[in-house]
């Protein structure tokens, strides 16, 4: 069985992102970049499936600028067998990325595509579902548990009221939620080995896909800030304020 793991290069989750001074976009100058945390969880799950003897090959793929090779090397160090960079100088929108992934999937024929439920930059939560639709296959989003019994895939999903379990047929797309697993760290020997693994670069222009932007970002601003309130000294003060000033409890 073959698993494809799409990953994304994003700002490290510890960085506090701010708009550029002209408010045209976010300021990404000199900020630390990393693999999107949800993608790391997807990769970890793929590696665990392979370690359990249920997969033969894991392919990491990203669609992005040349420097995304750095994140693909990380994926190779974490357990991917080979990697593909579909290189694009422009950052693409989710639908365009899904179309690129659909094209590569048609060439690679993975049994499972495991990917993050969302990237922590755009917070769109779209690409996996779009890819599933473009490929005409089943999906299980927000996975918190994946079990494989022969050809049967069971996925438990985090939904608003609790948990839902679906049975899906391969090929399938699974998108990962936070509690699916805790990703490992790459060991030094694996980081060294990753340098020798295969990493193919394909220009997006070679794929014959229309990736024209559909959405213009007109501005990026800070959210309106909340004014700091008052500090109270005691529980009695607090309850008095809530009852008589804010009038939110009786």
């Amino acid at each position: 069985m073959k698993i494809l793991v799409p990953i994304k290069r994003v700002v490290d989750y510890n960085v506090k992102v701010r708009p550029l001074s002209d408010n045209t976009d976010v300021d990404l100058n000199n900020v630390k970049m990393a693999v999107n945390p949800f993608c790391e969880i997807a990769l970890e799950e793929a590696v665990r499936i392979k370690e359990a003897g249920n997969a033969d090959e894991i392919i990491a793929i990203t669609v992005g600028k040349n420097e995304s090779q750095e994140q693909l090397r990380t994926a190779l160090a974490l357990g991917a067998d080979r990697a593909i960079l579909v290189e694009s100088d422009e950052l693409l929108e989710p639908l365009a990325i899904a179309k690129v992934l659909a094209k590569i999937s048609a060439e690679e024929n993975p049994d499972i595509i495991l990917m993050g439920k969302q990237a922590i930059d755009g917070d769109n939560n779209q690409t996996g579902q779009m890819l599933a639709e473009l490929l005409g296959v089943s999906q299980a989003t927000n996975a918190s548990e994946v079990t494989i019994e022969g050809d049967v895939l069971k996925v438990t999903r985090e939904i608003d009221g609790g948990l839902q379990t679906l049975q899906i047929t391969k090929p399938a797309i699974i998108t990962t939620d936070l509690r699916l697993n805790e990703p490992r760290y790459a060991s030094l020997p694996n980081i060294m080995k990753a340098k020798k693994k295969e990493l193919t670069v394909k220009p997006v222009t070679d794929l014959g896909i229309d990736v024209t932007k559909r959405v213009d970002v007109l501005s990026v601003e800070l959210p309106p800030s909340r004014e700091a309130g008052v500090m109270v000294e005691t529980v009695d003060d607090l309850l008095e304020k809530l009852r008589n000033e804010a009038k939110v409890i009786s």
Binding site: A96, I120, G161, Q167, S219, P223, G229, M231
Partner: protein
């Protein structure tokens, strides 16, 4: 222009977020139709018929739609492509699950999680866990949008008698099948619709200590939530989580207990009308957004609050 809102429901009742999504739809110019796909969902239709400002209800009743599987819902929603210019759904796990499939099917770049409508094609939405707000303009001819429900006041239910049009279901795709569901049972209000929410963070130290919040919640008629740190630590299940990766809430009163105030958490609750923070660390960032801050050990403060309510 015509607008289709896809209703979220459980075959018995309409979910509150549907009413907020309808409010967003009514800010666009055009007739608003409500699409209800389900199985034996007459109760939902009767409830929806009373909603103000609806043009009509489109209902499809079939076993295929009993469990709201993304593949089949996307299929039937996208089949209505020629009749509508806008497709809107709440940005809940329900809406997020199938709307991108609709968008891919009709070749449209979806706009997720809008918080404001500036014009027919221009919207505001949070990015980077709410650290920034982007204003985006869609150039697609059709729009597929999910709505952050806390950003729009709900439409009202009155004595309207909205006409209902019934359509046939499509052939089942049989791509995935429903195995089971474990829904949290609680007598308390749902997190996203509660008027008071009390949440615990890592400072709670254990899941057992959440009973301190439960007791106060029962007295206030509040829902209980948690920060991601508390969920990651295994104190409570994920459906308690308030934040960018959990639920977005905006109650009249939000009480954050033992929560430091990571941006991730603030993104999920900072639109609450009144915020109370209780934390023993006076430098915790949560105090910067709190209307009322109390520097105290929660293990002293919570029993005292409980006894004085």
């Amino acid at each position: 222009m015509s607008i289709l809102v896809i209703a979220e429901h459980d075959n018995s009742n309409l979910k509150a977020g549907t009413l907020n999504t309808l409010a967003a739809a009514q800010q666009l110019s055009g007739d608003v139709d409500l699409f209800i796909s389900g199985n034996n969902h007459d109760g939902v239709i009767n409830e929806a018929k009373t909603i103000d400002g609806l043009n009509q209800i489109i209902s499809v009743d079939s076993e295929i739609y009993n469990n709201f599987l993304a593949e089949d819902i996307a299929n039937i929603v996208a089949s209505l492509e020629s009749e509508y210019d806008y497709f809107l759904a709440p940005s809940s796990t329900f809406g997020k699950n199938f709307m991108p499939r609709v968008a891919a099917k009709i070749d449209t770049q979806m706009i997720s999680d809008i918080i404001e409508i500036l014009s027919e094609d221009t919207y505001k939405r949070p990015i980077y866990a709410g650290s920034c707000i982007a204003t985006v303009k869609s150039n697609d001819s059709k729009k597929v949008i999910t709505v952050r429900t806390t950003a729009f006041d709900p439409v009202q239910k009155n004595n309207s008698d909205v006409p209902v049009k019934t359509i046939d279901g499509l052939t089942e795709l049989n791509l995935s099948s429903f195995v089971g569901e474990e829904l949290a049972q609680s007598d308390r209000p749902e997190l996203t619709s509660a008027s008071i929410v009390i949440s615990g963070g890592r400072g709670m130290q254990s899941g057992d200590n959440f009973h301190l919040l439960d007791s106060i919640a029962d007295k206030l008629g509040a829902a209980v939530g948690a920060s991601r740190a508390a969920v990651d630590a295994g104190f409570v299940p994920n459906d308690y989580q308030v934040g960018q990766t959990g639920k977005i809430v905006a109650p009249d009163l939000y009480i954050a207990v033992g929560i430091s105030g990571a941006i991730q958490h603030l993104a999920g609750m900072k639109d609450s009308k009144v915020i109370v923070a209780i934390n023993k660390d006076e430098d915790a960032p949560i105090f910067q957004v709190a209307d009322y801050g109390l520097v105290a050990d929660l293990f002293n403060a919570l029993p005292e609050i409980d006894s004085k309510l």
